[in-house]
Amino acid sequence: MALRNIIGKRIGNGIGLVGRRSLSTATCDVENRNSKSMNLYSAINQALHLALETDPRAFVFGEDVSFGGVFRCTTGLADRFGKARVFNTPLCEQGIVGFGIGLAAMGNRAIAEIQFADYIYPAFDQIVNEAAKFRYRSGNQFNCGGLTIRAPYGAVGHGGHYHSQSPEAFFCHVPGIKVVIPRSPRQAKGLLLSCIRDPNPVVFFEPKWLYRLAVEEVPEHDYMLPLSEAEVIRQGSDITLVGWGAQLTIMEQACIEAEKDGISCELIDLKTLMPWDKETVEASVRKTGRVLISHEAPVTGGFGAEISASIVERCFLRLEAPVARVCGLDTPFPLVFEPFYMPSKNKVLDAIKATVDY
């Protein structure tokens, strides 16, 4: 995928900032010096190594993280940083997140892993009622900004009901937490480091389909990518497509096909879903006049609805066609019917054409 270079100020990487949290708005040069080809789980693994290296009060914990995790994202951490900082928890998501909130409240960086996003629901109470409201309730005396919850989300081809869900919409509805979803290894490393160092609690969803499949040149040094900044990864003039995570690969394929029919598509990766970058999307819609949103989660009440409503509020007179949403169906995530349920390239292509021909 084409990437625009993100040029910005370089900052120190958190050594000596044990008591305070460094701001995540700082960026680094994401040039290709000393970069290595790696897949998503390796990139995330590197990010975690750096996070633990640079902050002696960072912890990684969750189910099966000691031996490397079921997706190998935490390989080598226990050996390198010891069992006091990288440890397995019993099988209790509510306990894991609540425990993480407590760690964060005392000034540590708690990086909790939830084994599959489908299992995050017992922890939903802690995330929504405690993590999101901690700073608010305590009048800023305490905060759990050091908490980052990582969870693999999304379809994987054979996951069925409980290994394929995309719950991002539930968390976007809660003021007080951030939701971040990377689309590729390079993005993942930078975004994860930003999330860990962000002074707010963050839920970081990793597209599990891409763990091994997505391979990219990833710089080996410590770099952070800014949160709440969307990125235009493909320039176009006829229609704006907005998406995140693994769905962008599908959308890009649809864009390429649409190009053959003469439709020039602009593709935007939101990266941070909450708080999301309204300005970038709005600027793009003002240019093209049409917008299509696509995500794997069921269409009704999905995050696409929020984007659609916001865009209509801001760009009503500029819109040439209704906001289109190409999403998963309103059913539990199916097992055998997965290819039929998913917002596939053809569905996106049909919607692009329908919107352009409106």
Partner: protein, 432 residues
């Protein structure tokens, strides 16, 4: 690291550690005599005996294998625990479980089934030991390792195999797959992909049975519910919440812990503050028993007592079965973390071989009879695979069915046709 747990103390002795306190366990655990009041929670504490109550509760580590079973053990003549028919029945069930799971592995590697499949090899004694004592109306709630629970409960091998292949003839019409076996006819309330998720469901089912008996006065309703789950689940909040509710309301339920010492890659000993799960029963006011889960006869003895207790209305029981899974957590698990010596130790205690030895040594069956059973099972399993292969894949309309109760509320459009036949369906926006 597992040495502390597998000492002889636990593996050979299924009966309580302090047998003297088994008598009158009823009066020391419940607050008052069972009255017409249905819910135990409304009874008052008996203040005079509360201190005595607390002490006796704390001193009881393991309780409630009744006197009846103890007497049986102390009879002078060595009596057999099972009859020939029962023995052959148990053998057949365990062999079916093992052959079926082995076939699943083959089919998975050939690409006929997909998804996350968790096999039960090695744990057959628990499923057979417990479920074979149930009636059809008794309910079973399982985990993601549910193929053999389904088979023991009576779901035909064909239905289970078709479900795994994702065909319409499967027990859930192909909707669920490996981890979601349901059967209304056999009262199998599901495999659950999420650990601990089924335990509250089982608690509710048990409540229904008690309600029918005591409030609706269906005197012959003595249906029992069994909830199966693993060692990892015993650290989960839902487990404790349900132990409390079940003991509080004296529900006819048996909580069966299949402790195979590993939760994917987490050793039970390193994840639990007190690895003796059976001790958690008395903490909530129900008996807790530990049994050797590799020996189907021992499991069956304990199961008889626990299920009997529930049927008589005496309340729940927590049974911890020490067992082992011979394969990895799932078919995608390379199983590199477990010590080969540990695996070998448990492989030597294979429940099927053990039962075979018992039957032959006690002249309950001959080698030939057992061989016939094995052949028969092989044929059953092969027939199941053929049946599943030939069954049709579900039609696309099935995708939208059963989201809500009223199919018109979702799966069927205003023109009376299924929404997936609507050309606009390809846009993925399934309007309601």
């Amino acid at each position: 690291m597992a040495t502390a747990f597998s000492t002889a103390k636990f593996s050979t002795q299924p009966f309580p550690l302090n047998p003297t306190s088994t008598t009158s366990h009823d009066s020391s655990i419940v607050f008052a005599r069972p009255t017409s009041q249905f819910l135990g929670s409304t009874r008052k504490f008996r203040l005079t005996s509360s201190s005595k109550f607390n002490l006796s509760r704390r001193s009881k580590t393991v309780v409630a294998v009744s006197d009846v079973v103890k007497q049986k053990k102390s009879k002078s003549s060595p009596s057999l625990l099972i009859t020939k028919e029962e023995g052959l029945d148990l053998y057949e069930d365990m062999v079916l479980g093992r052959a079926f799971e082995d076939m699943c592995a083959q089919m998975y590697y050939r690409g006929k089934m997909f998804g996350f499949v968790h096999l039960y090899n090695g744990q057959e004694a628990v499923s057979t030991g417990f479920i074979k004592l149930l009636k059809q109306q008794d309910s079973v709630v399982s985990t993601y390792r549910d193929h053999v629970h389904a088979l023991s409960k009576g779901v035909p091998a064909r239905a289970v195999m078709s479900e795994l292949f994702g065909k319409t003839t499967g027990c859930c019409r192909g909707q669920g797959g490996s981890m979601h076996m349901f059967s209304r006819e056999h009262n199998l309330l599901g495999g659950f992909a999420f650990i601990g998720e089924g335990i509250p469901v089982a608690t509710g089912a048990a409540f229904t049975s008690k309600y029918k008996r005591e409030v609706l006065k269906e005197a012959d309703c003595d249906h029992v519910t069994l909830a199966f789950f693993g060692d990892g689940t015993c650290n989960n909040g839902q487990f404790f919440e349900c132990l409390n509710m079940a003991a509080l309301w004296k529900l006819p339920i048996v909580f069966v812990v299949e402790n195979n010492l590993w939760a994917i890659g987490m050793s039970h000993l390193r994840a639990t503050s007190d690895p003796h799960i059976y001790k958690k029963g008395p903490a909530f006011g129900m008996p807790g028993i530990h049994v050797d889960g590799m020996d189907v006869l021992k499991v069956r003895e304990v199961a008889k007592e626990a299920i009997g207790r529930a049927r008589r209305g005496e309340g729940p029981t927590l049974v911890e079965c020490e067992t082992y899974r011979f394969r990895g957590h799932s078919l995608a698990d390379p199983d590199e973390l477990r010590d080969p010596a540990e695996k070998a130790r448990y492989a030597a205690r294979d429940p099927i071989t053990a039962l075979k030895k018992y039957l032959i040594e006690n002249s309950l069956a001959s080698e030939a009879e057992l061989k016939t059973i094995e052949k028969k099972i092989d044929e059953v399993v092969e027939d199941a695979v053929e049946f599943a292969d030939e069954s049709p894949v579900p039609s696309r309309s099935q995708l939208l069915e059963n989201v809500f109760a009223d199919p018109k509320g979702f799966g069927i459009g205003p023109d009376g046709r299924y929404r997936c036949e609507d050309p606009k369906f390809t846009e993925g926006t399934a309007h309601v």
